[in-house]
Symmetry: C2
Subunit: 349 residues, 2 copies
DNA sequence: CCTTCTCGCACAATCGATTGCACAACCTGC
DNA sequence: GCAGGTTGTGCAATCGATTGTGCGAGAAGG
């Protein structure tokens, strides 16, 4: 209403305040003490700016400063509780630091990753959080070429610091829980834990498989390669593969380690075709947590990664002077079946 | 590797290509035909740019053009399947149009909404999608003052076009389904459908309550105000309120209409404390869909909003010349219990 | 051979903010 | 009364791209 035409600029304010643009600029961006602008002048300018509803043109500022005040984060998908929580944490913490969060999903597509990072660089983001890239090396190289501070989250990078959850610990814990709760049905093929989903080529999955193998070996005397099925994250793929598995071993295994929520979603779409009794002698575990998945027809043990902590440590690393590669591991948490995680203080944080 | 120092600018390319910056600019942004640059020159410049790994400084471009090439979307939260799907659709469609999507959550906080929109405006976004604002009028006013094209999604606005899902239809369908599946237990207080969660002050909730009332009246002869509990979206609040409700009516109602996923999450956190038999004579419905929620211990009828279509129509409206207020309604879809929605072609779209 | 176009491109202003530097006025001490 | 210091502010260049306009050279036409 007050604005007759368009957004006022520092020149407009300068005219109204009978000062120069540089003075106005200094006052409005807080650097006025350093420039020895008098308190009186500062207050006058401030009042006018307020009255005019001034807000800086962030593109102009960004151009001059060669940084935009935006922090980027790329992740595979949004529609998955783990990544959604990451977005949420990332946004909250970015804003707390006065930065504008920009989170973009790249659909596990290396080409899209490169394109997106290129775009973010073109907008002069101040730093980039890489959470789940299919080709982290390529992304890292782009960042290095652009001299862009970056940090890997949930996967380790070799050219910059990383914060990952302790996949080995989490998977070992989950596997151990499954084995302990395993109720044999008398069928050798089905009475073993199966590891299902994910990409053995990525760090997290490979660590989890290691832990799965080690735990099975320690507790059950061994594992067979046929107990490990990991051909991607796509729900559709998971549906096919789980059907094939059940077909092969003649029913549900007595323990199933599902490696991600998207995989679980696909698995579920097959499970819905099964009768309720099919689930009576099986125990399911899923790496990653979802509140609804915790209350399914059958018990599901879940591993909850501490996304808020992951992000917090990543911000610390980005802020640190040492840009060298190093890996910080954060312990995830086992969530028992039929348990709704409601934040550290029960407040649904 | 090829880059010795920093990002090349059009001036660098101009020097290398023995042309002027304006020529380079025209070539690189595609307007060179209009400026009658010869094909030969264009190709030469293009080759050099490619070799140098040139990419435009989008802040500079944005400053000059007074638009950034970014489209914004604000939504309440990310960690909820409905909004996550919206993000996903929004990103995909924005990129398809050559725009850079920026989606930000505002946590149902009017102050945060205003701040965020202010920031987005300061970055000169080209347009804004308002998906779930607590104070839509305030947001709209900010957009109008900045002359920013905007569209409301999932809630109607009075100063710009809107795309909403047909809340009345969806809620009527869901209520009808609940009533049809209702299995009375002989207790008058419990043998009625209850509407639970949301904010009666917002459009969607009020429409849904209308439909709930109308359907109950038509099918059961009436509703009592005590059957409608809507005190917000927060899970923690929902947990308290559902506990109070069960306490008041002496157990689970035979039909429960849950008004949002976040509410459901809170409800679930109370349900986990209940024995399995408690769910034997109840039918649950939830407005909004989540694949895991579809496979809980008890049957859940869900309404799935077509987020992809909502976004598509919103983009149409933003693109249209007519900026006036009007509302387009998109029909949502009922998802039967134990059904995993896997996209229009079963591909987990 | 002298206009009049048309081509193909370069000049220079501009977007809005930031920032190194200059400078006038005033103050201080000798 | 003057060198030297401090204060408060303005000037102008700059960030990297876009774009209205001008201009020389060659072609076309008479």
């Amino acid at each position: 209403m007050t604005s007759p035409k368009a957004k006022p600029t520092i020149y407009d304010i300068a005219r109204l305040g009978e000062a120069s643009a540089s003075t106005v600029s200094a006052v409005l961006n807080g650097s006025w003490r350093k420039r020895r602008i008098s308190q009186t002048t500062a207050e006058r300018i401030l009042a006018i700016a307020e009255a005019q509803g001034y807000s800086a043109n962030l593109q102009a500022r960004g151009l001059r400063r060669a940084r935009s005040g935006m922090v980027g984060m790329i992740l595979p998908v949004h529609d998955n509780r783990f990544f959604a929580d990451m977005s949420q944490s990332f946004e909250a913490q970015a804003r707390q630091r006065g930065l504008c969060p920009v989170v973009v999903s790249t659909l596990r597509d290396p080409a899209e990753e490169a394109r997106t990072v290129g775009t973010l660089i073109a907008y002069a983001i101040d730093s980039l959080f890489i959470a789940g890239a299919t080709d982290p090396a390529a992304v890292g190289e782009l960042c290095r070429a652009a001299d862009l501070p970056h940090v890997y989250v949930d996967l380790p990078g070799f050219d910059a610091p990383s914060v990952v959850s302790d996949n080995y610990l989490g998977a070992a814990t989950l596997t151990e829980t499954l084995v302990r709760n395993l109720a044999p049905a008398g069928d050798p093929l089905r009475d073993r834990p199966y590891f299902f989903g994910g990409d053995p080529g990525d760090y997290a999955t490979s660590r989890r498989i290691e832990a799965f193998r080690a735990t099975c070996t320690a507790m059950l005397g061994g594992v067979d390669d046929s107990q490990i099925i990991a051909r991607g994250y796509a729900p559709a793929r998971a549906r096919e593969d789980i059907a094939a598995l059940l077909d092969r071993i003649g029913g549900l295994p007595s323990a199933l380690f599902i490696n991600a929520l998207t995989v679980f979603e696909g698995v579920l779409s097959h499970f819905v075709t099964l009768p309720a009794q099919a689930f009576e002698r099986t125990v399911i575990g899923c790496y990653d947590y979802d509140p609804f998945a915790a209350f399914l027809q059958f018990p599901v043990h879940m591993i909850r990664q501490n996304s808020s902590e992951l992000i917090a440590r990543a911000f610390d690393l980005i802020g640190a002077e040492d840009r060298g590669p190093r890996v910080i591991e954060i312990a995830p948490e086992l969530i028992a079946p039929r348990t709704i995680y409601a934040g550290p203080f029960g407040e649904f944080g």
